[in-house]
Structure formats: structure tokens, C-alpha cells
Symmetry: C2
Subunit: 413 residues, 2 copies
């Protein structure tokens, strides 16, 4: 492969001491790929000048495009500009216009604020400012004799905004010769998928698995096969996995479910116990979800399950809140009460407390109710509290997706 290669250096002691997650790598990697540029290494170093310079020296030895994320802010631990200037033997300069812009954006006065504005306005001599559409500190592009260095602010949304609005235009024009196909697979584990597709993929195709709770992203990749040959493997995998495939682009189940509902003009309501709003939050992370999502109830107590979701007190006592019967009643209860076409419910034991021998931690019942009836599934999820909740949400979305697809097909017949 001879695609251009890039590296990222992330600066920030907080990234190495547990204070924050690195979100730049995934964002940059995905964006560069669209332009046919491969991100081949990422290095995280503390906010120390020598560490930044050492990482920069290493990166420039290997590649011609280097990104440095973080350390452009106003506080004294923001030292990326000093480090890069020292390494390149250039000065730091202040552009008056930029200083004015930053004063206006910071909208705070006083001596300390003025010092901070000046620090943020500093740029590296010969560098080109990359305006920041969502925050204060601009990015900086510096060209050396044989490489380009992009300095990017640390807050993930600012990093991404400058990347999308500025940086990618400099990288435009390159063509992607890497063939790639993505399958999003719901309700199957990595090893089940592998067993199903074994034999379907011909030599020259690489297969990658990216598992997350409740779903696996399956990637086929080739740099040697023709489009036709590659297409044969794609079609074979598609046949092997069938309905388990919920999309062939990198989207979440919440978007797929949203599209199915919108297309049919149907509405949805949720009834949650152990996930307590995670399902409704996920559904509404899609812009425009108010077109089909009407609302939801989190009924954490038994009393609320009866009062708000029309669960029968008698069944609750006989079967317990974590049962197929109660899951079914919650889904159909919220559907009726909120006048929605579909209702989804989750009731389970997320742990670490509350489990018993008959109903252990990780036991979760999920029900989907629609015009064609109600389905309920019993699940056992492993891992800690948050993992059990995350699996529950994604599994519920996948059940709903399958029901919506069935109803759509039945309607078309």
C-alpha cells in the first residue's frame, strides 16, 4: 500500500493520569481515512516540553503529516506552541487581529484574563491560523521543508470542528485505493460471526471485528483484489449473516430504528427500569427524533410500575419486577398510555447489588410491543453495572429493529 501516512501526538498529563479519555485518535483516524490518508501511530505524552519534542522528532522521522492535539489553551500547562517553536527554531508571535478576536470570545476582564488572552493569541512564526468555529483557540498549520504539522486544540469538539472545516481541505484530492466494506451486526457475538462466515471470504480480504456491547462492526478490507472480486466476498458474507446485519455503513441501531419509524410514520415510547432513561437518551441522540419518539417512563420503584405503566399488582407480586410478565406489561402499558404505535421495555438487575440465586445480577427481560403483538426475551449479560445496562439498551434496539422490519415486510405483502 502506498497511501500517505500520518501520525498524531496527543499532549496532556490528564490523558495519562486518568483525568480524561483521548477522543482525538478515533476522530482523526476516521476523517483521514475518508481522504485516503492512513493514521499509523498515535503517541500520548505529558505536558512537558522535552516529551513533546521527543515525540515530534520520532514522528517526523517516520511520516510527513503530523498532528499535535492539545496544549493550545490559556493556562500555563498549555505548552505545545513553545515546544514546537523550540524544536523548529522559530519564534512565537502575536497577531493583533487575533488577540482582539480572542479577547472578544473570552468575554472576561482583568489582568489574569488579559495574560490568558495573550497566551492564546500567540502563534508560531510562519504558521497559518486555522479558525476555531466552536471555541477560542485557533489551530495552526506549519509547513517545514518536507512535512506539514497541524497544531489542534484539545477539547474534542474543537479538534473535530477545525479538522472538518479546515484541515481536510488541505488534504483533499488524494484518492482512496483501499477497498473497504462495513457490516453492522446485531445480536451475534464475534465468535458466532466468525463461525458463520468462515469460508465465505476469499484470500486477499482482511477481516476485522470491532465488538461493542450488543453489536459487532465487521470490516472487510482489501488492497489487492479487483472491485468485482472484492464484491464477491462482500455478497457471500451478506448471505451468511442475513437479518443479523442491520446496516452496511457505520451507524448506530438508534438511527436505523429511527429511519424505519419515520418511513412508516409510526411512533415509539419507552418504559425502563434498570436502564433508567439510557434507552430513551440513546433514541433521542438522533437529531429529528421528535418526529417519532413521544416519551418514556423510568419506573424505578414497583409502585411506579403499577401507577404509571399499568403493571398488575398481582403479577408483580407473583413474578417479581424482573420477569417476562412484567416486561410485557410495561411495554404494552407505555404504548397504550402514551398513545404510541410501539412500546419497548427493559427490566433487570444491573448489579452489583440486588441479585439472588434465582434472579442473578445480569438477568434482564426486554419486551417490544407493536400493532402485531408483543415479544419478550430473557437475557443474561455479563460485566459490571454499566456494561449490563449498555448491553440491555443495544439489545432492546435490535429487538425493536427486527420487529419493525417484520412489520414492514408484512405490510408490503
Amino acid at each position: 500500500m502506498n497511501l500517505p501516512e500520518a501520525e498524531l501526538i496527543s499532549t496532556g498529563s490528564e490523558l495519562l493520569s486518568g483525568g480524561a479519555l483521548n477522543r482525538h485518535t478515533a476522530c482523526l483516524g476516521a476523517a483521514l481515512r475518508e481522504k485516503g490518508v492512513l493514521l499509523v501511530r498515535e503517541t500520548t505524552v505529558p505536558d512537558r516540553k522535552e516529551a513533546i519534542i521527543d515525540a515530534l522528532r520520532g514522528a517526523l522521522r517516520r511520516v510527513k503529516i503530523v498532528f499535535v492535539g492539545g496544549g493550545l489553551g490559556p493556562t500555563h500547562d498549555d505548552i505545545t506552541k513553545e515546544a514546537v517553536a523550540e524544536y523548529l527554531g522559530r519564534r512565537l508571535v502575536i497577531q493583533e487581529q487575533e488577540l482582539e478576536d480572542i479577547r472578544r470570545k473570552m468575554a472576561v476582564s482583568g489582568r489574569v484574563a488579559e495574560d490568558m488572552c495573550r497566551r492564546q493569541a500567540e502563534t508560531i512564526e510562519g504558521g497559518r491560523l486555522l479558525p476555531n468555529p466552536v471555541g477560542v483557540a485557533p489551530g495552526i498549520k506549519i509547513d517545514t521543508e518536507d512535512a506539514s504539522i497541524f497544531l489542534m486544540p484539545g477539547p474534542p469538539d474543537e479538534f473535530e470542528a477545525i479538522l472538518r472545516t479546515q484541515v481536510l481541505t488541505f488534504l483533499g484530492g488524494t484518492r482512496n485505493i483501499l477497498r473497504e466494506h462495513i457490516f453492522m451486526v446485531g445480536g451475534m457475538r464475534e465468535v458466532e460471526i466468525a463461525a458463520h462466515i468462515s469460508g465465505a471470504v476469499q484470500a486477499g480480504v482482511e477481516v476485522y471485528y470491532r465488538p461493542a456491547p450488543g453489536r459487532v462492526e465487521l470490516v472487510l478490507e482489501s488492497s489487492s483484489l479487483s472491485e468485482e472480486e472484492f464484491g464477491e466476498s462482500v455478497a457471500a458474507v451478506r448471505r451468511c449473516l442475513g437479518r443479523a446485519i442491520y446496516a452496511e455503513t457505520r451507524v448506530g441501531l438508534e438511527s436505523v430504528v429511527g429511519n424505519l419509524l419515520r418511513r412508516k410514520g409510526r411512533t415509539l415510547a419507552t418504559a425502563e427500569s434498570c436502564t433508567a432513561g439510557m434507552l430513551s437518551a440513546r433514541i433521542t441522540s438522533v437529531s429529528g427524533s421528535s418526529k417519532y419518539f413521544v416519551g418514556g417512563v423510568t419506573a424505578y420503584t414497583d409502585r411506579l410500575k403499577v401507577a404509571e405503566l399499568m403493571v398488575s399488582q398481582r403479577h408483580l407480586e407473583r413474578h417479581g419486577a424482573v420477569s417476562a410478565t412484567v416486561a410485557r406489561q410495561m411495554a404494552s402499558g407505555v404504548r397504550k398510555r402514551f398513545h404510541a404505535d410501539y412500546g419497548v421495555s427493559i427490566t433487570g438487575i444491573a448489579g452489583p447489588e440486588g441479585g439472588s440465586v434465582r434472579k442473578p445480577v445480569g438477568l434482564v427481560f426486554i419486551a417490544v410491543a407493536g400493532p402485531s403483538g408483543i415479544q419478550v426475551e430473557r437475557n443474561m449479560f455479563g460485566g459490571g453495572r454499566e456494561r449490563v445496562r449498555e448491553w440491555s439498551v443495544v439489545t432492546a434496539l435490535n429487538m425493536l429493529r427486527l420487529l419493525l422490519e417484520e412489520d414492514e415486510e408484512a405490510g408490503a405483502r
Copy 2:
């Protein structure tokens, strides 16, 4: 500083192509710090043998403790063990007992599954297996003449489980000579905090800011000052920030709010519109939250705000759903309806659609209702849909925290 230093190598093409976030670095950094070990660099490389070997060579040149995360799974792109074995000139071997364990855990049969089991059971000659309490692949500890290498599985919960149950015991005994104090600050921006504490911190104390939506983690650190001198700076900062400080350990507002409610035996309910369950999901991420959280309503439509939250139709028409009046009615409505001591509501425009000149995207009203009355705040949050929602949730938790503290103080008088 002469604390022992460690590096992490993360393997995984998906980390560099946007398929997954690196969660190991934060987890490892925080855990090592507790043991007085500093994580000084993290390097992410693709699933390629040469790349892993190159990163390992570099790390072992700088430090004596190296972690390698990822690539221990059953699929052919998991090649960490091969790479490390080749670099060290050791063989891969299979222990029968381990193979049996893995067959049992995988619980799938067939030829493909058997190959996968064997791959997972392979270990490096002379390596010590670190049992995996939550997943299939064990970790491996390898000691060379002057360094220790820990191979850890990629799934973040498995990485963390092996780290907590196995690895940290090997690192026990070292003492932390770095002084550190953490302030969790709610409702103030980084630059406001900096202006407030300027002058309070003496020379020899480093100050780090770790901003996240709605809160800033402020860290004071010193390796040169005495305990008493360091304590003076800590006390001075505490005085400057006052009630904005919500904790002095790294905890979320949801835990602080939970403790306040639990201590007083009070209960809480939520009413959400634009955040649609994110607030209740966050509150219940705390184990044991069923002691004080009763439930919540997500009312995405106006109809449900009236029907479920006792919002007045007349006020809704006059002021709109995104207004102080409706926020107030939602908070007091859910409090009454769910028989809770406290009610919290969020109603706003998360965008990108739905904004207007009078009510732009990012406008969010938050209300808290309790035995002592109702408070409401108008907020303007920037950034995209998810950022507006995240700011809303954290700001609501901080408002609730302040009200609970006030009520507690009033009760104590």
C-alpha cells in the same frame, strides 16, 4: 521526581481508524498513580507485528514497566503474542488446563471455534497467566532481565478487571511521594477559576485544569513542597472557590447528590425533555441509587408534558415548552405525581434543528423543586446536540446539589 515510570502500548487498527475509543490509557494511568507509578507515555499502533515490535523496543529503552493492551483475542488480527514472542526470542506454548477453561468459557463448538480456543490459550514461554474474571482471554506477565511486560486483553472491562485483581498486587509496596489534591468544581469555567485562584497558589505547586461539560477538575500537585506548605495552598484555593467545590476526590456530581439524598432519607424524581432520560440514567449509574431515586418521565411532546407532568396547557401555549414557567411546572409536577421530595426538570433546544431567533439552539431551562421551594435557571450552552445535552445534565445535577446543601444547612440551624 524518582517515581517508577511505565508506558502503555495499545494495539488495534480500529483505534486508529475511528472504530473505537482508547479507554485503557485513562484506566491504567489512574490505577498506577494510586500505586505511585507514573504512566509517562502511551503509543497506539495498528495490528501489525513490525509496528508492535518497534513500539515495544522504544518503550523498553525508556522504562522498566511496559503494558501492551489488545490483540489477545481469538481472531487472526490478534497478533500481540506472536509479536512479543518474536521480539523476546521465545516460543508460544499451550497449557492444557488453560485450553480446557477457554473451551468452557467460549461455549461454542465446531472446527472454527476450536481453532479460536487454541489461539486464545497460547501463552509466551516463561510467561505467567493472569486470570480474566470477566472474559475469556487471560493476561500474561513476562519478566525479562530488567523489565516487566504485561500483556492485557483489549475489551476495557477485561483490561480493568485484570489490572485491579492481578497487576496492581505486583506493583504494591511502592510509596507515592507526589503530593496531589483534587478539587471538583461545578458551575464555573476554567478561566473563571483561574481568575479566582490567582495569587492563592504558591511557587512549587503545579495547577492543572481538566474541563468537562459543566464541571472542572482542578488538580494541585507538588513534588518539592512539605506537607504543611502544600496544605496552605490547598486551603487557600478552598477559600477562594467556596461552594463551587462539590468534592475533593474524583467523583461525579451524581454520587455527591446521591450521598446528600441518602443521608437525609429524601427521594428524587426527574422530568426531562431535550435530555430525554440522560439525567435519570446518570443518577442511576450509581449503585444503590434505588434507595433515593424513584423514577422519571421523558415528555418529548407537549401533549405528554400536560398529561403526565401537570403542565398547564395555557402556560404552554403562552410561553412555549422551552420556558422558565414550563420548567418550573415540570419539576414540581413530577415531584408531586411521583410523591418525591425533590423534582428536577430540563427543557431546552438541543438542536441542530428547532431553534429560532428568540429561542436559539442551546437555550435550556433547568428547574429544581424541593420542600423549600422551586428554583429555575436559564442557560445558553454551545457546541453540538450531545454537548448541549451533556451540559444540561451536569448543570442540573449541580443546581440540585446546591439546593440539597442549602436545605441541609437550613435544617441544621
